[in-house]
Symmetry: C2
Subunit: 163 residues, 2 copies
Protein backbone atom coordinates (compact mmCIF):
# COMPACT_ATOMS: atom_id res chain seq x y z
CA UNK A 1 0.00 0.00 0.00
CA UNK A 2 2.78 2.37 0.93
CA UNK A 3 4.41 1.65 -2.42
CA UNK A 4 1.18 2.35 -4.27
CA UNK A 5 0.76 5.67 -2.49
CA UNK A 6 4.38 6.57 -3.16
CA UNK A 7 4.06 5.62 -6.83
CA UNK A 8 0.93 7.71 -7.12
CA UNK A 9 2.70 10.60 -5.43
CA UNK A 10 5.63 10.40 -7.80
CA UNK A 11 3.33 10.22 -10.83
CA UNK A 12 1.37 13.19 -9.51
CA UNK A 13 4.57 15.13 -8.94
CA UNK A 14 5.78 14.30 -12.44
CA UNK A 15 2.48 15.44 -13.88
CA UNK A 16 2.37 18.64 -11.87
CA UNK A 17 6.07 19.29 -12.49
CA UNK A 18 5.25 19.17 -16.15
CA UNK A 19 2.40 21.63 -15.79
CA UNK A 20 4.10 23.92 -13.31
CA UNK A 21 6.96 25.05 -15.45
CA UNK A 22 6.09 27.74 -17.93
CA UNK A 23 9.18 27.04 -20.02
CA UNK A 24 8.80 27.29 -23.76
CA UNK A 25 10.19 23.82 -24.42
CA UNK A 26 8.87 20.40 -23.41
CA UNK A 27 10.60 19.40 -20.18
CA UNK A 28 12.94 16.45 -20.60
CA UNK A 29 12.86 13.35 -18.43
CA UNK A 30 15.92 14.57 -16.53
CA UNK A 31 14.42 18.03 -15.99
CA UNK A 32 11.32 16.35 -14.61
CA UNK A 33 13.47 14.29 -12.24
CA UNK A 34 15.05 17.49 -10.89
CA UNK A 35 11.63 19.10 -10.53
CA UNK A 36 10.33 16.06 -8.68
CA UNK A 37 13.26 16.32 -6.25
CA UNK A 38 12.51 20.03 -5.81
CA UNK A 39 8.85 19.25 -5.10
CA UNK A 40 9.52 16.33 -2.77
CA UNK A 41 11.85 18.61 -0.85
CA UNK A 42 9.07 21.17 -0.63
CA UNK A 43 6.71 18.50 0.72
CA UNK A 44 9.31 17.69 3.40
CA UNK A 45 9.33 21.36 4.36
CA UNK A 46 5.54 21.44 4.54
CA UNK A 47 5.63 18.31 6.72
CA UNK A 48 8.41 19.85 8.88
CA UNK A 49 10.37 16.63 8.40
CA UNK A 50 13.97 17.54 9.28
CA UNK A 51 15.51 14.24 8.16
CA UNK A 52 13.76 14.38 4.82
CA UNK A 53 14.48 18.08 4.25
CA UNK A 54 18.18 17.59 4.99
CA UNK A 55 18.35 14.46 2.81
CA UNK A 56 18.07 16.61 -0.32
CA UNK A 57 21.47 18.21 0.30
CA UNK A 58 24.78 16.79 -0.83
CA UNK A 59 27.15 15.98 2.06
CA UNK A 60 29.18 19.08 1.19
CA UNK A 61 26.12 21.15 0.28
CA UNK A 62 25.78 24.77 1.32
CA UNK A 63 22.85 26.98 2.30
CA UNK A 64 23.06 30.65 1.43
CA UNK A 65 20.42 32.23 3.66
CA UNK A 66 19.76 35.96 4.01
CA UNK A 67 21.04 37.53 7.18
CA UNK A 68 23.67 34.92 8.02
CA UNK A 69 26.99 33.77 6.57
CA UNK A 70 27.22 30.64 4.46
CA UNK A 71 26.05 27.42 6.15
CA UNK A 72 28.32 24.55 5.10
CA UNK A 73 27.75 20.82 5.38
CA UNK A 74 24.91 18.62 6.53
CA UNK A 75 25.36 19.03 10.29
CA UNK A 76 25.13 22.81 10.11
CA UNK A 77 22.29 22.57 7.58
CA UNK A 78 20.40 20.19 9.88
CA UNK A 79 20.74 22.65 12.76
CA UNK A 80 19.39 25.45 10.55
CA UNK A 81 16.31 23.42 9.54
CA UNK A 82 15.79 22.36 13.15
CA UNK A 83 15.76 26.06 14.10
CA UNK A 84 13.28 26.81 11.31
CA UNK A 85 10.90 24.03 12.37
CA UNK A 86 11.23 24.92 16.08
CA UNK A 87 9.39 28.16 15.36
CA UNK A 88 5.66 27.31 15.75
CA UNK A 89 4.81 30.04 13.24
CA UNK A 90 7.15 28.61 10.61
CA UNK A 91 5.53 27.66 7.31
CA UNK A 92 7.53 27.52 4.11
CA UNK A 93 6.25 26.62 0.66
CA UNK A 94 7.91 27.04 -2.71
CA UNK A 95 7.38 26.34 -6.37
CA UNK A 96 9.87 26.04 -9.22
CA UNK A 97 9.49 28.31 -12.23
CA UNK A 98 12.49 27.14 -14.23
CA UNK A 99 14.84 24.21 -14.55
CA UNK A 100 17.99 23.57 -16.60
CA UNK A 101 19.98 20.36 -16.77
CA UNK A 102 23.44 19.93 -18.31
CA UNK A 103 23.59 17.69 -21.37
CA UNK A 104 25.71 15.27 -19.34
CA UNK A 105 22.91 14.99 -16.76
CA UNK A 106 25.19 15.59 -13.78
CA UNK A 107 24.51 19.26 -12.95
CA UNK A 108 21.24 21.19 -12.90
CA UNK A 109 19.57 24.19 -11.46
CA UNK A 110 16.07 25.17 -10.41
CA UNK A 111 14.71 28.54 -9.47
CA UNK A 112 11.33 29.72 -8.31
CA UNK A 113 9.47 31.61 -5.64
CA UNK A 114 8.69 30.93 -2.00
CA UNK A 115 6.33 32.08 0.73
CA UNK A 116 7.48 32.02 4.32
CA UNK A 117 5.67 32.67 7.57
CA UNK A 118 7.64 32.90 10.78
CA UNK A 119 7.86 34.64 14.15
CA UNK A 120 9.44 38.05 13.61
CA UNK A 121 12.11 39.56 15.88
CA UNK A 122 9.33 41.00 18.07
CA UNK A 123 7.65 37.60 18.32
CA UNK A 124 4.78 38.70 16.11
CA UNK A 125 3.82 36.74 12.98
CA UNK A 126 5.84 37.88 9.98
CA UNK A 127 5.87 36.82 6.36
CA UNK A 128 8.17 37.00 3.41
CA UNK A 129 7.71 36.41 -0.29
CA UNK A 130 10.82 35.84 -2.31
CA UNK A 131 12.75 33.81 -4.80
CA UNK A 132 15.26 30.98 -4.63
CA UNK A 133 17.69 29.08 -6.73
CA UNK A 134 19.23 25.68 -6.18
CA UNK A 135 22.17 24.01 -7.91
CA UNK A 136 21.82 20.24 -8.10
CA UNK A 137 24.37 17.54 -8.70
CA UNK A 138 23.59 13.92 -9.46
CA UNK A 139 25.29 11.86 -6.79
CA UNK A 140 24.84 8.08 -6.69
CA UNK A 141 21.99 8.41 -9.19
CA UNK A 142 20.08 10.94 -7.09
CA UNK A 143 19.78 14.69 -7.52
CA UNK A 144 21.22 16.47 -4.46
CA UNK A 145 21.39 20.21 -3.73
CA UNK A 146 24.98 21.42 -3.61
CA UNK A 147 23.99 25.07 -3.13
CA UNK A 148 20.67 26.61 -2.18
CA UNK A 149 20.02 30.35 -1.95
CA UNK A 150 17.11 32.71 -1.47
CA UNK A 151 16.24 36.34 -0.89
CA UNK A 152 13.12 38.41 -0.35
CA UNK A 153 11.19 40.44 -2.90
CA UNK A 154 10.93 43.37 -0.47
CA UNK A 155 8.20 45.95 -0.42
CA UNK A 156 6.92 47.44 -3.68
CA UNK A 157 8.75 50.65 -4.54
CA UNK A 158 11.68 49.98 -2.24
CA UNK A 159 14.97 50.20 -4.13
CA UNK A 160 17.04 47.04 -4.33
CA UNK A 161 20.61 46.68 -3.19
CA UNK A 162 23.11 43.88 -3.56
CA UNK A 163 25.46 42.30 -6.04
CA UNK B 1 49.67 46.61 -27.74
CA UNK B 2 46.08 46.27 -26.75
CA UNK B 3 46.24 42.58 -27.57
CA UNK B 4 49.37 42.17 -25.45
CA UNK B 5 47.71 43.86 -22.50
CA UNK B 6 44.59 41.76 -22.95
CA UNK B 7 46.62 38.55 -23.19
CA UNK B 8 48.50 39.50 -20.05
CA UNK B 9 45.23 40.24 -18.29
CA UNK B 10 43.77 36.89 -19.28
CA UNK B 11 46.91 35.05 -18.16
CA UNK B 12 46.86 36.95 -14.87
CA UNK B 13 43.20 36.13 -14.35
CA UNK B 14 43.84 32.45 -15.09
CA UNK B 15 46.72 32.44 -12.63
CA UNK B 16 44.74 34.21 -9.92
CA UNK B 17 41.64 32.13 -10.61
CA UNK B 18 43.78 29.13 -9.95
CA UNK B 19 45.04 30.51 -6.67
CA UNK B 20 41.76 32.00 -5.50
CA UNK B 21 39.75 28.85 -5.28
CA UNK B 22 40.36 26.82 -2.19
CA UNK B 23 38.86 23.67 -3.71
CA UNK B 24 40.49 20.42 -2.89
CA UNK B 25 40.93 19.38 -6.50
CA UNK B 26 42.99 20.97 -9.25
CA UNK B 27 40.71 23.26 -11.23
CA UNK B 28 40.06 22.05 -14.76
CA UNK B 29 40.53 24.19 -17.87
CA UNK B 30 36.76 24.68 -18.14
CA UNK B 31 36.44 25.62 -14.46
CA UNK B 32 39.19 28.18 -15.00
CA UNK B 33 37.30 29.57 -18.01
CA UNK B 34 34.20 30.07 -15.84
CA UNK B 35 36.29 31.71 -13.11
CA UNK B 36 37.88 34.03 -15.64
CA UNK B 37 34.41 35.08 -16.82
CA UNK B 38 33.40 35.66 -13.18
CA UNK B 39 36.51 37.78 -12.61
CA UNK B 40 36.21 39.77 -15.84
CA UNK B 41 32.65 40.52 -14.87
CA UNK B 42 33.88 41.72 -11.48
CA UNK B 43 36.39 44.01 -13.21
CA UNK B 44 33.53 45.45 -15.28
CA UNK B 45 31.69 46.18 -12.03
CA UNK B 46 34.77 47.85 -10.55
CA UNK B 47 35.12 49.93 -13.75
CA UNK B 48 31.37 50.75 -13.66
CA UNK B 49 31.18 49.65 -17.28
CA UNK B 50 27.47 49.00 -17.91
CA UNK B 51 27.91 47.48 -21.38
CA UNK B 52 30.58 45.11 -20.18
CA UNK B 53 28.72 44.17 -16.97
CA UNK B 54 25.54 43.40 -18.91
CA UNK B 55 27.46 41.45 -21.58
CA UNK B 56 28.03 38.61 -19.12
CA UNK B 57 24.32 37.76 -18.99
CA UNK B 58 22.53 35.47 -21.41
CA UNK B 59 19.79 37.21 -23.40
CA UNK B 60 17.19 35.51 -21.23
CA UNK B 61 19.27 35.81 -18.06
CA UNK B 62 17.73 36.75 -14.73
CA UNK B 63 18.94 38.72 -11.72
CA UNK B 64 17.64 37.71 -8.31
CA UNK B 65 18.38 40.74 -6.14
CA UNK B 66 17.33 41.19 -2.51
CA UNK B 67 14.44 43.56 -1.97
CA UNK B 68 12.96 43.37 -5.46
CA UNK B 69 11.18 40.76 -7.58
CA UNK B 70 13.02 38.85 -10.28
CA UNK B 71 14.63 40.98 -13.00
CA UNK B 72 14.26 39.23 -16.37
CA UNK B 73 16.11 39.85 -19.61
CA UNK B 74 18.93 42.12 -20.70
CA UNK B 75 16.97 45.38 -20.97
CA UNK B 76 15.73 45.15 -17.38
CA UNK B 77 19.16 43.96 -16.22
CA UNK B 78 20.82 46.91 -17.97
CA UNK B 79 18.47 49.32 -16.19
CA UNK B 80 19.33 47.71 -12.85
CA UNK B 81 23.08 48.08 -13.42
CA UNK B 82 22.58 51.66 -14.63
CA UNK B 83 20.80 52.40 -11.37
CA UNK B 84 23.62 50.79 -9.39
CA UNK B 85 26.31 52.81 -11.19
CA UNK B 86 24.27 56.05 -10.96
CA UNK B 87 24.82 56.00 -7.20
CA UNK B 88 28.12 57.86 -6.61
CA UNK B 89 28.71 55.79 -3.47
CA UNK B 90 28.30 52.50 -5.34
CA UNK B 91 31.28 50.17 -5.19
CA UNK B 92 30.87 46.44 -5.69
CA UNK B 93 33.58 43.82 -5.59
CA UNK B 94 33.31 40.06 -5.40
CA UNK B 95 35.39 36.94 -5.38
CA UNK B 96 34.53 33.34 -6.24
CA UNK B 97 35.08 30.65 -3.63
CA UNK B 98 33.79 27.67 -5.58
CA UNK B 99 33.10 26.56 -9.12
CA UNK B 100 31.50 23.46 -10.63
CA UNK B 101 31.17 22.62 -14.32
CA UNK B 102 29.03 19.86 -15.82
CA UNK B 103 30.94 17.07 -17.56
CA UNK B 104 29.35 18.19 -20.82
CA UNK B 105 30.83 21.67 -20.34
CA UNK B 106 27.57 23.49 -21.04
CA UNK B 107 26.37 24.37 -17.51
CA UNK B 108 28.32 25.64 -14.52
CA UNK B 109 27.99 27.52 -11.30
CA UNK B 110 30.13 29.83 -9.23
CA UNK B 111 29.59 31.10 -5.74
CA UNK B 112 31.51 33.46 -3.52
CA UNK B 113 31.30 36.58 -1.43
CA UNK B 114 30.85 40.25 -2.21
CA UNK B 115 31.33 43.65 -0.62
CA UNK B 116 29.04 46.48 -1.54
CA UNK B 117 29.09 50.16 -0.68
CA UNK B 118 26.13 52.32 -1.61
CA UNK B 119 23.99 55.25 -0.52
CA UNK B 120 21.52 54.01 2.08
CA UNK B 121 17.84 54.98 2.18
CA UNK B 122 18.76 58.02 4.27
CA UNK B 123 21.43 59.04 1.76
CA UNK B 124 24.23 58.11 4.14
CA UNK B 125 26.97 55.70 3.08
CA UNK B 126 25.97 52.11 3.72
CA UNK B 127 27.73 48.82 3.21
CA UNK B 128 26.85 45.18 2.87
CA UNK B 129 28.86 41.99 2.97
CA UNK B 130 27.26 38.95 1.51
CA UNK B 131 27.39 35.95 -0.75
CA UNK B 132 26.34 35.23 -4.31
CA UNK B 133 25.83 32.41 -6.70
CA UNK B 134 25.68 32.43 -10.48
CA UNK B 135 24.54 29.75 -12.90
CA UNK B 136 26.39 29.84 -16.21
CA UNK B 137 25.56 28.39 -19.59
CA UNK B 138 27.93 28.14 -22.51
CA UNK B 139 26.31 29.99 -25.38
CA UNK B 140 28.15 30.39 -28.68
CA UNK B 141 31.35 29.22 -27.01
CA UNK B 142 31.15 31.81 -24.22
CA UNK B 143 30.08 31.40 -20.61
CA UNK B 144 27.01 33.55 -19.90
CA UNK B 145 25.12 34.04 -16.64
CA UNK B 146 21.59 32.67 -16.89
CA UNK B 147 20.78 33.37 -13.23
CA UNK B 148 22.59 35.49 -10.67
CA UNK B 149 21.57 35.83 -7.02
CA UNK B 150 22.91 37.33 -3.82
CA UNK B 151 21.97 38.07 -0.24
CA UNK B 152 23.57 39.74 2.77
CA UNK B 153 25.34 38.08 5.68
CA UNK B 154 23.49 40.31 8.16
CA UNK B 155 24.73 41.33 11.55
CA UNK B 156 26.45 38.81 13.83
CA UNK B 157 23.97 37.20 16.17
CA UNK B 158 20.90 38.16 14.17
CA UNK B 159 18.78 35.11 13.37
CA UNK B 160 18.37 34.21 9.72
CA UNK B 161 15.10 33.82 7.90
CA UNK B 162 14.25 32.64 4.41
CA UNK B 163 13.81 29.48 2.40
Amino acid sequence: MRKVVFTFLVISLFASAHLLIGQSHQTTKEEQAVLVADQQWEKASEAKDVDKAVSFYADDGVMLEPGTPIVKGKDAIRQAWQRFFADPAFALTWRADAVQVAQSGDLAYTRGTFDLRYSGPDGKPASMHGKYMTVWKKIGGKWKAIADMNNDDGQPGKPAEGK
